[in-house]
Symmetry: C2
Subunit: 344 residues, 2 copies
């Protein structure tokens, strides 16, 4: 059932059908009505393959991808990009293009990069919402140009409608609470470690902390939970207060709210802290080594590569099929233990 049959049924040419399908105008009310009726009755659906085959040569779909700098080889932000390029590989014959933009740590740098993006004509933007004000600006401008924006990694409050493909960090914190509590119990002591950057704590790290505490609220246990806020770019400094917390034989559970759980084991052994269970985020090399070594007990995977992959794929589906149902996506809170890697 193609455009040709529809044309025959309506006694018009395929050009006219196309004008109706794409609301290109220049069709009499009457003809339009007749055609719409037939489309509805026959349940006609456009063949996207044929459509893209034609369009790939005349109207490219262009994405701007704006991520934090991927300076070093192990940078986390390489992973979403890998996913982006995997998706691109699948879609390039359909006329999809991707341009890469980066920003450094500052909001000014993000602003500059996003302005550069608006100088060109993209069909959609994929980025990361680290700076609320600048994201609102970006979103507003994108809206006025009818460009969808997909944010990866973190969800924040914004003024206009945006899509988020990210893990629910509150849930991740709750799950972390459940798991550590299983090992440590209600009589033990808990530590939340937030590694801060120049701008303070990252939004999703805070959401994870809140989720962690919410878990203990939900089970009605009044356990001891200390928060340790520690600047990055510094060797981990143990304050006298922390030292006193660490003392004692009771079980301890440490929840690192970002990817730096690997900083902790060294401290623990230096201060001879025992009976301790440690969990954190992300399957980076150092974290995985400590997981193998039983010094990290759980890691939560955010599937960063998949986030990038699915952002491109689902934006493409949205732009070609108007189906935005998969642009608002929960990445599952995937718990990893040592044994997950035992078959590799």
């Amino acid at each position: 059932m193609g455009i040709k049959q529809i044309a025959k049924l309506a006694n018009v040419s395929i050009g006219t059908i196309d004008r109706v399908l794409h609301k290109r105008g220049g069709v009499s009310k009457e003809t339009e009505k007749k055609i719409l009726k037939i489309i509805k009755e026959t349940g006609y659906q456009k063949n996207m393959t044929a459509s893209r085959l034609k369009l790939a040569s005349v109207k490219k779909i262009k994405f701007a991808v704006l991520t934090p700098e991927t300076d070093n080889e192990y940078s986390y932000w390489r992973l979403p990009k890998e996913g982006v390029y995997k998706a691109l590989d699948e879609l390039k014959e359909l006329g999809v293009k991707v341009d890469d933009y980066q920003f450094a740590g500052s909001s000014a740098s993000f602003k500059k990069a996003s302005e550069a993006i608006f100088l060109k004509n993209y069909d959609a933007i994929i980025t990361v919402p680290f700076f609320q004000e600048e994201c609102n600006t970006l979103l507003k401008k994108a809206k006025s140009r009818n460009m969808p924006v997909v944010f990866l990694d973190t969800e924040i409050e914004l003024n206009d409608k945006a899509y988020f493909i990210r893990q629910n960090s509150h849930v991740a914190g709750m799950v972390a609470g459940r798991l550590l509590h299983g090992l440590v119990g209600s009589s033990g002591k808990y530590f939340i470690v937030n590694i801060l950057n120049d701008r303070g704590i990252q939004v999703n790290n805070k959401q994870r902390e809140d989720g962690f505490r919410a878990f203990f609220d939900s089970i009605g246990e009044d356990v001891s939970i200390n928060t340790i806020n520690h600047p990055l770019n510094d060797t981990f400094r143990v304050t006298p207060e922390m030292e006193s917390w660490f003392k004692g034989d009771d079980l301890k559970g440490i929840f690192v709210t970002n990817s730096r759980a690997h900083l902790i084991p060294e401290i623990l052994s230096k201060y001879e802290v025992s009976n301790t269970f440690l969990m954190g985020f992300d399957l980076n090399k150092k974290n995985l080594e400590y997981l193998q070594d039983n010094q990290i007990h759980f890691l939560i995977n955010q599937q960063p590569k998949y986030q990038g992959y699915v952002a491109i794929k689902n934006l493409f589906n949205f732009l070609t099929k108007q189906d935005d149902s998969e642009l608002q996506l929960d990445i599952p809170v995937e718990i990893m233990v040592k044994e997950h890697f035992s078959s590799l």
Copy 2:
């Protein structure tokens, strides 16, 4: 860079290029050599979209899907099928067809259904390896017709090469050991519950049991692990031996190797077994209810829908692009706790 440019470079017509690309023969050695050289130099890649647009109307790709009966509404086997139909929905405009076959509990029924499949002409078969002998027969016949076969759910030993898209059940058992051990510790008692069907224990249930025991071996703890083999289609019967196992105040961990963990809580309360942690497989309605109720502590998700989806998608990629790298697939051992469902 399309077939047209290649033709121009080689000073031949596009028909001849196509003959070389598809090894259709009827091309002189010399011309072929020249063309292959140009293809290599230019890095030409066939545009699959254009190819499928044409082929969709002349050469359909047909899959036979053979699963256990999906008699009742909650049948597990509906889920892979949902995935199959989701994939079909995406691929049908590319000329993909799926036929559904079912088998009942017996190997004879499986045999009969697979014979019916071979009466028609399919490009690939997707099924479940419950019967070793019959699967070997099927695989042999498929091989002689050059049909790939993808098995879902379970991996078993077979004589010929086959693809498996399933969870590594041994790893799943190890992960289960790790988690239950975290809750129960080394001084507790462990129970493995295998629910048997007419043919005895299912292969992947056994693999899970082995993995569970292997975990305790790996950590060098000599803990008490009792295996309870219980027939299905029967109310759960507690033998005097089991009753004696259940007694005592020590912590207990129960690992149900299939989807029936939901049978256990009732027994436990009837026999007043306390201090018990329970884990099993699959996110069926009853299991999820007990998870919410803190009577099941962990569930492992096998992503059955995704298994069906990815089987079709990746078979399609294999048949159209010769890329079989994703037909041998490990479904991650996804651990679910109550909090995973807290945002729904």
